[in-house]
């Protein structure tokens, strides 16, 4: 279970949000909505432990999540704006680091996002949507409980979105939590919505 208790975040001198409370149970999903610049990405980075709160606390299973930042990192799979794809490496090589960390199979993850046929292709040849799918393959590889997704379906075609929906379902069925910032509908049945202003 993920809980935020009265958190506030500053970016430089500007207050992004304050007195924010949220709770997501195991297997649950939370959609962050709101206008551009309303702090969706900042909230995701806060939940990941990349940004520190100015006030309040993030709790994981009732205990302070940021007491050990490295351990919190292991609980988190973060899909940011950027795909973190290295153009000089092949599709498989891009996943080697994530696979070493989690000891899972790269082939299975590539199959899950439909990139198995391109495994040995240099990543600079991929389209924007394919790069996004490669970043999603990294989520599949991770053993993390908490998926933090920033506009996850950006650039994906309908077939890929359906496949991504199945992956989200599998993750939640295994007790995982999904928090996603988005402007478009996501395949997350039963998700609660938090509107930031």
């Amino acid at each position: 279970m993920l809980t935020a208790e009265g958190v506030a975040v500053f970016r430089g001198e500007r207050l992004v949000f304050r007195d924010l409370f949220l709770t997501v149970p195991s297997g649950g999903a939370l959609i962050l909505a709101g206008a551009n610049g309303s702090g969706k990405s900042t909230l995701l980075r806060l939940l990941a432990g990349l940004v520190r709160p100015a006030a309040g606390q993030i709790l994981w299973e009732g205990a302070d999540a940021f007491a050990d930042l490295a351990a919190h990192g292991e609980r988190v799979a973060y899909l940011g704006h950027q795909d973190a794809v290295k153009p000089g490496l092949t599709v498989t090589e891009n996943l080697l680091f994530a696979a070493t960390v989690s000891r899972r199979s790269i082939a299975t993850a590539l199959e899950a996002v439909g990139l198995d046929a391109l495994a040995d292709l240099p990543s600079r040849m991929l389209s924007a949507g394919q790069k996004r799918r490669l970043a999603i393959a990294r989520l599949v590889l991770s053993t993390a409980q908490l998926w933090l997704l920033d506009e996850p379906t950006l650039g994906l075609d309908t077939a890929s979105i359906d496949r991504f929906g199945a992956l989200l379902g599998q993750h939640r069925a295994g007790g995982g939590i999904v928090v996603a910032a988005t402007h478009v509908p996501l395949p997350l049945p039963g998700a609660t919505e938090l509107r930031l202003s």
Partner: protein
């Protein structure tokens, strides 16, 4: 520890793939060092006397070249976020990056330093001491460099700031490193200089990655 090696192999693989960037530092070292005989003249006496200083200054400047991209590329494409979320503490990431900088830049410079010293007519019996000093010194350069690179990360014109931050920090390394080779060339014991370099390395080994880790955390925030 497994993640530490994963970060290291990832960085080495990337350096291997971008071979031109990796070779640039080495080429810079050799080219700048060979400018000195042209500018000063090939007289063995003059050249041999200042050879340790030339090798040290050129190695130091060459080691600075790849620092700009050490974290820069990872910050721009979002990889740094993922590295920090890998479960390895930030200082572990910084330590792995220091080690990869040393393997990719320090070791080739060490290998090239011998031939360059011979080219500059350095007294032969002083060359082992020069290399021993560089072995310790290149490690220190990587550690200080990683720390400075993480501190200027995200700053506008960080590439300009970087040498201004690193060079004053490494002056003691330069002084004792060049002094060790000078002492050996003059027939004195190089031991105290090398011991001081070793002491600096022993202090920097735990402290620089800690500072660099804090710098990385601040950069992604």
């Amino acid at each position: 520890m497994r993640i530490f090696w994963a970060v290291l192999t990832r960085d080495l693989r990337l350096s291997l793939r971008h071979g031109a960037d990796t070779l640039a530092a080495l080429m810079f070292f050799m080219v700048t060092a060979s400018l000195f005989p042209l500018a000063i003249g090939p007289a063995p006496d003059t050249l041999g006397r200042i050879a340790p200083g030339i090798v040290w200054v050129c190695a130091l400047l060459a080691a600075l070249l790849p620092l700009d991209r050490l974290f820069g590329a990872d910050l721009e494409d979002g990889s740094l976020d993922l590295l920090l979320l890998s479960g390895l503490p930030a200082f572990g990431i910084a330590a792995a990056k220091s080690l990869s900088h040393w393997v990719v830049t320090g070791v080739p410079l060490l290998l090239a330093a011998g031939p360059v010293a011979i080219m500059l007519r350095m007294p032969e019996d002083a060359i082992p001491v020069l290399l021993l000093g560089l072995l310790l010194g290149s490690g220190l350069l990587s550690l200080f460099g990683t720390m400075a690179a993480s501190i200027v990360l995200g700053a506008r014109r960080g590439g300009v700031l970087l040498p201004l931050l690193v060079l004053p920090l490494v002056t003691p390394v330069l002084i004792f490193g060049a002094a060790a080779a000078d002492a050996a060339a003059g027939g004195f014991s190089a031991r105290p200089h090398l011991l001081l370099l070793g002491a600096m390395l022993a202090a920097a080994l735990p402290l620089c990655p800690l500072a660099a880790g804090a710098g990385l955390r601040a950069a992604v925030e």
